[in-house]
């Protein structure tokens, strides 16, 4: 019931209920929350806590699969629908109904992002065609295989937001996707822009800066500079929801790894066990030491394969024994590499030292909360210092200090 950022949804079904594919089984609780739908048809077996791929136990509904019966309102054909014109209000409602969240990994409810806060105006819609992380290829696959639907989804989002201009940013290492999308978008208000290949180019703030030269202020959101950003996968889900009445019950997951037999992108129903995906990709390689939910830079290590795919699962990465060990920590030689790579202009070496010495109150003015946890500092450090581990600790402590101050 917590597959999204915000309040957990409220379960609507009970043990023994019959459900169909696409039927809502949980309803949004509050504004920043969303609906959840059955991804299979059958009988509700259990409503209980289960461990999901985030590694935490959360409320979930277990359904015994029986047949594959869909709600009749869902248009399951491959026919392209693009002539439906809906007012912005209805688009937002349909997106909430369909339970759509940011599929890049952050899982922020999409209808919330489409609601521009009072006093702010959206000028641009940006579609993120940059894979968030190395190894993930699901966005690329979608842009190549479902380009027309994607374009239609972009237009729906433009209407929903009430903006005139949209930009689709794609990294220059995918010239085929750039060419294809350019061809489709020709003559429209949607521009396709190639971007320098670098990490983290797919971060919202980095993307906005690269495309529009606008810097999202510290502590702010893209809307503060008149921009709303959606990921390619999310945009397609929006198309499905608005044009085809299809709720978010499946997503594309990249399954990859050096020793994996058949690394692939799978379109899977939400709730599919990770173990089934790995099986389909050729089975678990012998020396697998680490399984990551997400990419190599920001993903979460899984303790077991017996967890379901959730809305935010962008990829499953298997790593060998040899790739999985951390190196010995050496002293900082102040080589400044962590500073050069930090996309937020922070000083990771300093933040780590402050965190090590528990000087948390000094971390706040050093802007530790701006850290997007991209992992570049830990990646680049020649002394193998666990910079991000300590920065995370500092972020949590600084957040505590700030909450305590507010409470007084």
């Amino acid at each position: 019931m917590s597959q999204h950022l915000g309040a957990p949804s409220k379960v609507l079904v009970n043990r023994g209920d019959e459900v169909k594919v696409g039927q809502a089984i949980a309803r949004a609780e509050g504004f920043v929350s969303t609906n959840i739908h059955a991804s299979v048809s059958g009988k509700v077996l259990k409503v209980d806590e289960f461990m999901d791929s985030s590694g935490y136990r959360k409320m979930a509904v277990q359904i015994q699969v029986e047949g594959d019966e869909w709600l009749e309102s869902i248009d399951r054909s491959d026919d392209l629908v693009r002539n439906t014109v809906l007012p912005a209000e209805d688009i937002r409602k349909k997106i909430l109904e369909a339970g759509i969240v940011g599929l890049g990994g952050a899982t922020f409810p999409t209808h919330v992002k489409l609601t521009v806060p009072r006093g702010k105006t959206a000028e641009y819609l940006i579609i993120n065609g940059v894979e968030c992380e190395p190894f993930l290829t699901s966005d690329h696959a979608l842009m190549m295989e479902r380009s027309v639907e994607l374009f239609s989804g972009i237009q729906v989002l433009m209407t929903g937001l009430g903006v005139e201009k949209a930009i689709l940013g794609i990294e220059n290492n995918k010239p085929d996707a750039i060419a294809k999308m350019k061809e489709i978008a020709a003559g429209s208000n949607v521009t396709v822009q190639g971007l320098k290949v670098k990490y983290p180019q797919g971060g919202e703030k980095q993307l906005v800066q690269a495309l529009l030269k606008r810097e999202v202020p510290s502590g702010g959101l893209p809307i503060d500079v008149g921009v709303v950003v959606f990921n390619v996968g999310t945009t397609l889900a929006v198309y499905e929801a608005v044009m085809k009445n299809r709720p978010l019950i499946d997503r594309v997951v990249t399954v990859t790894g050096k020793s994996l037999e058949k690394p692939s992108n799978f379109k899977v129903r939400i709730g599919t066990p990770v173990s089934a995906l790995v099986e389909q990709a050729g089975g678990l390689p012998e020396h697998t030491a680490k399984v990551i939910n997400g990419g190599p830079m920001m993903g979460k290590a899984l303790a077991t394969l017996d967890v379901p795919v959730v809305k935010g699962s962008s990829g499953i990465l298997l790593m060998d024994e040899s790739e999985s060990r951390r190196k010995e920590i050496k002293p900082c030689i102040r080589c400044t590499k962590c500073i050069s790579v930090c996309p937020m202009g922070l000083e990771p070496y300093l933040l780590m030292t402050l965190s090590e010495k528990s000087l948390f109150e000094r971390m706040e003015p050093e802007k530790v909360l701006d850290c997007i946890e991209c992992g570049s500092c830990s990646y680049t450090c020649p002394s193998s210092r666990p910079l991000l581990d300590y920065i995370r600790l500092g972020k949590a402590e600084v957040a505590k200090i700030m909450r305590a101050r507010k409470a007084v």
Binding site: P134, K205, Q209, L212, K213, R214, E215, V216, P217, S218, G220, D224, V225, T288, A289, K290, I292, G294, P296, M297, M298, G299, A301, L302, A303, L305, E323, S324, R326, K330, P331, C332, I333, R334, C335, T336, K337, I339, S340, C342, M344, G345, L346, E347, Y349, L350, K367, D370, E373, G375, S378, Y379, T380, C381, P382, S383, S384, L388, D389, R392
Partner: protein, 330 residues
């Protein structure tokens, strides 16, 4: 069931290591080392070998027996300190003096502060200045280039900067310049001076290599060299009879070695780009002030040590540009 490793992200790392960076710097020093051996022969070989070996030995002894830490003598940094110390000594320096210099460099310059990463001052320069103060005669007798087989008995003379300083007491720049090696000789290193500092060309090659490998950025060396060029250029314009031209200042003494290798030492230089430039400009100004108006012919080592001391302060006040600090509305 499989047991998987669970750890926070990131899960992948670059293969850069401290020893790799150190060896990169050493590779970039090879042209300058080759030139020094070509001009100073056996003297340079002895000084370099003694210096590197002593630095490794002292680092091992101190880390093992005094700090009781895991010995760090093979991480490449002691070797580099030894090489750089040898580079800023005369090639006819008696070996026991070199050993004392190495002890000062590693012992006082580095290990007293807790070893690699903790020192405030550049260890090689600490060693050099220690020797300069302890043995002023040996540290100002520079062997003439080309005496391959002579070590402590080599014929000595004054450096170009020394000639200039002494000469200006009674004569003009124009009268002194003919005694100074030609600019071509200064560029290739056929000149008197510390063993590794003589060839500006070899050192510049090393700088390009380090920039290519992204071991250093341009900020520190270029801001030092530019500042020296501009400052001495202004003085030269004011009175060319009293002040030597910028090219003379750029090519002589330890400026190149200092700007490219000593001032760029990671541990003792500022962290932000802005800070690096301020540090570089400061070193450039103080170097010229000492050279032109001070008591010593050369000032770059003091300038660097002074600004090493300022580094923590520079780090405190000159931060990298934070993302989103200045709100830009298009």
């Amino acid at each position: 069931m499989n047991k998987f490793i669970v750890s926070p992200s990131p899960h992948t790392y670059s293969d850069e290591t401290v020893p790799k960076l150190m060896y990169g710097v050493m590779i970039s020093l090879l042209p300058a080392l080759a030139v020094s051996i070509y001009f100073f022969g056996i003297g340079m070989l002895i000084v370099t070998t003694v210096s590197v070996a002593s630095c490794i030995l002292f680092e091992y002894l101190i880390s093992r027996h005094i700090l009781k830490d895991k010995p760090s003598h093979l991480d490449g940094s002691a070797v580099l300190t030894g090489l750089l110390l040898a580079f800023c000594l005369p090639a006819n320096m008696p070996f026991w003096m070199v050993m004392i210099g190495a002890l000062a460099a590693i012992g006082i310059g580095k290990m007293t502060f807790g070893g690699l990463g903790n020192n405030i001052f550049n260890p090689a320069l600490v060693g050099r200045v220690f020797l300069f103060i302890s043995f002023p005669v040996a540290m100002t007798a520079w062997p003439e280039p080309g005496q391959w087989m002579l070590y402590t008995d080599a014929v000595t003379g004054a450096t170009p900067l020394g000639l200039m300083k002494e000469g200006l007491a009674t004569r003009t720049v124009g009268e002194i310049m003919p005694e100074v090696p030609s600019f071509l000789n200064l560029l290739i290193g056929r000149s008197m001076g510390s063993a590794g500092e003589v060839s500006a060309l070899a050192l510049l090659l090393g700088m390009l290599y380090m920039m290519y490998r992204k071991i250093i950025s341009w900020h520190i060396p270029i801001s030092i060299l530019l500042t020296v060029a501009v400052f001495t250029g202004i003085l030269w314009q004011v009175n060319p009879e009293r002040f030597a031209d910028p090219l003379f200042h750029l090519l002589t003494g330890g400026l190149m070695l200092g700007a490219i290798y000593m001032a760029t030492d990671y541990v003792t230089s500022p962290m932000s780009r802005k800070g690096m430039i301020i540090y570089g400009v400061g070193i450039g100004i103080v170097t010229v002030l000492i050279r032109v108006f001070g008591a010593y012919p050369e000032g770059v080592q003091f300038a660097i040590l002074i600004f090493n001391g300022f580094t923590p302060l520079i780090n405190k006040y000159f931060k990298p540009k934070r993302f989103g600090k200045e709100v830009v509305h298009g």
